[in-house]
């Protein structure tokens, strides 16, 4: 579904992505892992067209990212930080996103899925101004917005950071349901156990280069470790020794 080839990105003197090649298959749940500053968020933002790479190309189903924006109609994105215009309510925000998607060129029929609103306990919060909501509640609004349009591709950047345990479980169940329905998901997180529950594939980034990209079980077999956390720390030690 997504083909990333030779992706390079520099921020001034910082070389954030150094020739990244990744293939994300349709229906896979890909966990992007790596230490802070490894380039995870930059990679995700490049797929969304938020960050413009210095070299390399990204294709989403043969559509070249950067040429036109219509491919984003099929993406649901949950960013790390949730901040919105202060004076809008959650309901107004969701309505606005719906109208934007309807107005998009060659927008197909829309399947709106609001089930997360009730599941995350947001029903009573919809008409309060967003500035009055706590950080965690705003993160829930973020989650609702990402899943609202039943997208083919979900991109979730630290989705459970800042959520209470109950909401985290709701969200994880939802991701598993999407996986069962054959949707493609790209997810980052610092909780390895959580990713192990969700992911079929792993991309391990270290200092802007891909150290491993492939199925989760193959990674466990290759490193002979019992879980993802240990496998990743094994890869990091290996890299440090080399």
């Amino acid at each position: 579904m997504i083909t990333i080839s030779g992706l390079e990105k520099r921020y001034g003197a910082q070389h954030v992505l150094r020739g990244v090649n990744v293939e994300v298959g349709r229906g896979s749940v890909t966990a992007v892992v790596g230490p802070n500053g490894a380039g995870k968020t930059t990679l995700i933002k490049a797929i969304l067209g938020l960050v413009q790479p210095d070299a390399g190309a990204i294709r989403v189903d043969d559509l070249l990212v950067g040429e036109d924006c219509s491919y984003r109609a099929r993406i649901g994105y949950m960013p790390q930080i949730a901040r919105y215009p202060h004076n809008l309510t959650a309901r107004e925000l969701l309505t606005m996103l719906t109208e934007l998607r309807k107005a998009a060129p060659n927008a197909g029929p829309m399947r709106r899925d609001e089930s997360l609103i009730a599941q995350l306990g947001l029903t009573g919060q919809l008409d309060k101004p967003l500035r009055a909501l706590s950080g965690g509640t705003r993160q829930k609004v973020n989650a609702v917005a990402a899943f609202l349009f039943s997208p083919d591709l979900l991109i979730l950047d630290e989705p459970t950071a800042g959520l209470d345990p109950a909401a985290s479980e709701v969200l994880k169940d939802r991701i598993l349901a999407e996986r069962a329905a054959g949707r493609t998901v790209i997810v980052t997180s610092h909780f390895m156990s959580e990713l192990e529950e969700l992911a079929t594939d792993v991309v391990f980034l270290l200092e802007g280069t891909v150290r491993y990209a492939g199925p989760l079980d193959e990674l466990l077999r290759r490193t002979r470790k019992a879980n993802l956390g240990r496998a990743i720390s094994h890869l990091m030690l290996e890299a440090a020794a080399a």
Binding site: L48, I75, P79, R83, Y84, E92, L100, A104
Partner: protein
């Protein structure tokens, strides 16, 4: 609205709703209301308009730059979210720009014009002058919110961004005029009228000031260069050139801001 895509219109509507509920916007409108009202109560309508001109040339650029910078800082994550939708950068830029500028311009017009309507000055010449003042104030709003976009695109650090915005205001609204005057005095013995005219065209606030003061027929206030300006800007050609220059002052930063917005990483 056929001028903009439906997507841009949606973004503008959403931003209008947000900015329109801002307390700062009401404070801004109230400020002009109180000032205009007080000036009308304590002086004649002529004097009030003249004083209001000075206040406008000073405050409108400041508020447009500062409010614009704060708005863009606050809108950073929201911009990110909108860019993750099937929205092109040009559409989002236009939406954000109009969503910021229109409420500011409306607040200025409402605040400055309502006292004149309330006090019922039935003087057609004065009404035209007020109209020109409002038009110039609106234009300056469009110029300086666009400059806020340019500053936001080129300065990464939040604090330095605000510093740059305020410095830009100091230069255009305060220092530039003084420097031109110093230059005029130092080089009084030389024929520098054309240079002075050129310098005036180079700063939107000066350009607005000259247009307004000539309109109010108080060019004597501008010292000896006043006569030169009167000669130049008084005629139809002068007004046409000055208006074109002011229009350029809107399109130039808008285009520059768009260019930077399209290349920027979020």
């Amino acid at each position: 609205m056929t001028l903009f895509s439906p997507i841009t219109t949606k973004i503008v509507t959403c931003e209008l709703r947000d900015v329109g509920r801002s307390r700062w916007l009401f404070a801004y409108a109230a400020f002009f209301f109180v000032v205009a009202d007080a000036l009308l109560r304590f002086g004649g309508a002529d004097k009030a308009l003249l004083s209001l001109t000075s206040v406008t040339l000073f405050i409108v650029p400041l508020v447009a730059l500062v409010f614009g910078t704060v708005f863009l800082d606050d809108a950073r994550e929201f911009t990110e979210l909108l860019l993750a939708q099937p929205v092109a950068r040009r559409q989002l830029y236009t939406g954000l720009y109009l969503g910021l500028t229109l409420p500011l311009a409306a607040a200025f017009v409402a605040g400055a014009a309502i006292p004149f309507a309330v006090h019922r000055i039935g003087n057609p010449t004065l009404d035209v002058s007020l109209g020109v003042l409002l038009a110039v104030g609106v234009t300056l709003t469009f110029v300086f919110t666009a400059l806020a976009f340019v500053v936001a695109a080129f300065v990464d650090d939040r604090l330095r961004r605000m510093g740059t915005a305020i410095a830009l205001w100091l230069v255009t609204a305060v220092l530039y005029d003084g420097l031109v005057l110093v230059l005029a005095m130092l080089l009084a013995d030389y024929p520098i009228e054309r240079t002075l005219l050129g310098l005036t065209l180079g700063n939107p606030v000066d350009l607005a000031r000259v247009l307004l003061l000539l309109r109010f027929d108080v060019s004597a206030l501008m010292g000896y260069t006043g006569a030169v300006f009167q000669q130049f800007f008084g005629g139809a050609l002068g007004i046409a050139i000055a208006s074109t220059a002011l229009a350029l002052w809107v399109t130039l930063p808008v285009a520059l801001g768009l260019r930077a917005f399209r290349k920027r990483d979020f």
